[in-house]
């Protein structure tokens, strides 16, 4: 059975995040929101890293079930961490959790228990700042991810396969990214092939799409290319996607268009889930 390896400190897995930091990321996201694509992507990365840290947190600290790289691509291709982790690629999750660049306070609205909403302040750690500068060397970024993944599975041959998550507006400027994307997924551990997922943030005013099983509803060539590059969701991830209301089939791919991808963290198994009774 594939994609069933235990994720533990003795047998960790890795996440490689690829962050599009090209000039086009300064355009606003579609759908009426007033945010720039670069802001949306930086927020998504920071939320994903926070969710992963919380998921793996225990009393003594965050357990190193994952090692994390955040690679930016735009003016250059390299580590997108800011703060104490600047310049580093694969970092144990415990160090990620302990060393954000800063922890901001953000206001969010939560249910007040009486059908309304009330404002509350939460701590929001930041590791990656929005950047929009230069071209979109997506092929080089995918090659960098492939190199990290290749090295990881060589050192951890029994691991849950590495996951590469590419966050982009889709407009590669150094060639068709399909073959570089395929190359990432040729690296395998005993538990299966590396997974490549994509979050497409677009200025187009199209309907957000989460984990589709076809590209027919996607609005342009870029989104269809990214959909085609994305791995099929393994069965257990499809199961968790369905629990969150996604209609997942055998053909569902790890692709999200202009929507929140933080739920991906909930697709990972690190032990008994802390699920409330219903």
């Amino acid at each position: 059975m594939t994609y069933a390896a235990e994720i533990s400190r003795a047998n960790p897995s890795c996440f490689v995040f690829l962050v599009d930091q090209s000039a086009s990321m300064s355009d606003p996201i579609g759908g009426g929101a007033q945010q720039r694509k670069a802001d949306v992507v930086a927020d998504a990365i920071n939320r994903l890293l926070a969710e992963l840290s919380v998921k793996c947190a225990k009393e003594e600290g965050v357990r190193d079930y994952f090692h994390i790289a955040v690679i930016g691509y735009g003016h250059t291709v390299g580590s997108a961490f800011t703060g104490p982790l600047a310049g580093r690629d694969l970092v144990p999750l415990s160090q990620v959790a302990e060393k954000p660049a800063r922890v901001e306070k953000r206001v969010k609205k939560v249910p007040d228990g009486a059908g309304g909403l009330v404002e509350t302040t939460t701590r929001f750690p930041v590791w990656v700042d929005p950047v929009a500068n230069g071209a979109t060397p997506m092929c080089r970024a995918l090659s960098r991810a492939e190199s990290l993944v290749s090295d990881w599975v060589a050192r951890h041959p029994d691991c849950f396969p590495p996951i590469v998550l590419n966050l982009t507006d889709g407009e590669s400027t150094d060639g068709d990214p399909a073959s570089a994307a395929w190359a990432v997924q040729t690296h395998v551990s005993a538990d299966g092939a590396a997974l490549l997922f994509n979050l497409h943030v677009s200025a187009a005013k199209a309907v957000p799409v989460m984990f589709p099983d076809t590209d027919v509803a996607l609005p342009d060539t870029y989104s269809r290319t990214l959909f085609g590059m994305s791995s099929l969701l393994p069965p257990h991830m499809r199961f968790y996607a369905m629990q969150q209301g996604v209609t997942a089939t055998d053909l569902t791919r790890g692709f999200v268009y202009n929507a929140d991808i933080t739920s991906l963290v909930q697709f990972l198994d690190i032990g008994t889930r802390a699920t409330d009774l219903r």
């Binding site: 600290g61 198994d269 032990g271 008994t272 802390a274």
Partner: protein, 267 residues
């Protein structure tokens, strides 16, 4: 009756990190015969929770205390649900002390801990009472929420498995008691109870999920897993048990998880 228990962390974790808990009253050595009623409970803290082992510990102690005060607690889902809510009340005090201690130690709650502390820890729980009368007949009562199990065996037969009856019934989202759950009716809906009688010579095993799933799988294949467990519990041999568990995990017979068993031997 004789009682004994074993508790082992998942492979790769230390005993301090084990989030399974067993609690037996009266506490006694495995070779000590107990004529009075015995109370036993096991709980399995959810890996994704923070302080799950501490919650499991408080939960087992609370439900045993409640059962000692009122023996009907294990026969009535509403009373057992009340015991679970009361344990949650006790957790609030425990947590306040914990947070204060962390502050005093210069190690305040980190940003990544806060969301889990706010949600509260989750655990399964199973509690049982065994009472033998002057004719050597034993009445037993058990209540559970989640996938920790009780097995009743006689000679070469598995008489009863509770609350799950097959290895296929286990998954990684069992019913769990959350320390902040005050919804009495909801808890009661998920509680299962069972009572029965037993004879001298009968055996009971209270197991957390990985061991329980192995037990049921082995029994379904026609094996007698209770004899394997008895070897380790009667001799109080944690090292031998660990070696056996390692082999069972390597052979794919058991999931790598914390393991706890309480053995109640009616002699």
């Amino acid at each position: 009756m004789f009682t004994s228990s074993l508790r082992t962390p998942k492979q790769g974790n230390s005993l301090r990190e084990c989030e399974d808990v067993a609690h037996v009253l009266p506490a006694s050595a495995p070779e000590t015969w107990l004529a009075e009623p015995v109370f036993a409970a096991v709980a399995d803290g959810a890996s994704e929770s923070l302080l799950a082992g501490d919650w499991a510990d408080l939960l087992t102690r609370s439900v045993i205390d409640a059962t000692r005060d009122d023996e009907c607690v294990l026969r009535d889902v509403d009373r057992f649900a009340t015991a679970l809510v009361d344990a949650g009340e006790a957790w609030r005090g425990w947590l306040a002390d914990y947070v204060a201690t962390r502050e005093a130690d210069g190690r305040p709650i980190a940003w990544y801990e806060q969301p889990k502390l706010d949600r509260g820890p989750h655990a399964t729980v199973l509690a049982a009472r065994f009472d033998t009368d002057s004719t050597s007949a034993t009445r037993w009562d058990v209540a559970a929420l989640g996938d920790s199990c009780l097995f009743h065996t006689r000679d070469d037969r598995l008489l009863r498995a509770f609350p799950l009856e097959s290895a296929e019934a286990f998954d990684n989202s069992p019913g769990l008691v959350n320390a902040f759950n005050r919804d009495h009716a909801l808890l009661a809906r998920h509680v299962r109870t069972l009572s029965g009688s037993a004879e001298q010579g009968d055996q009971f095993f209270l197991c957390t999920d990985a061991l329980a799933a192995w037990f049921l799988g082995a029994a379904a294949r026609g094996d007698q897993p209770w004899h394997v467990l008895s070897e380790f519990t009667r001799s109080g041999d944690p090292d031998g048990f660990e070696v056996w568990l390692k082999k069972a995990r390597e052979e794919g017979l058991m999931r790598n998880d914390d393991v706890t068993v309480v053995h109640v031997d009616l002699g």
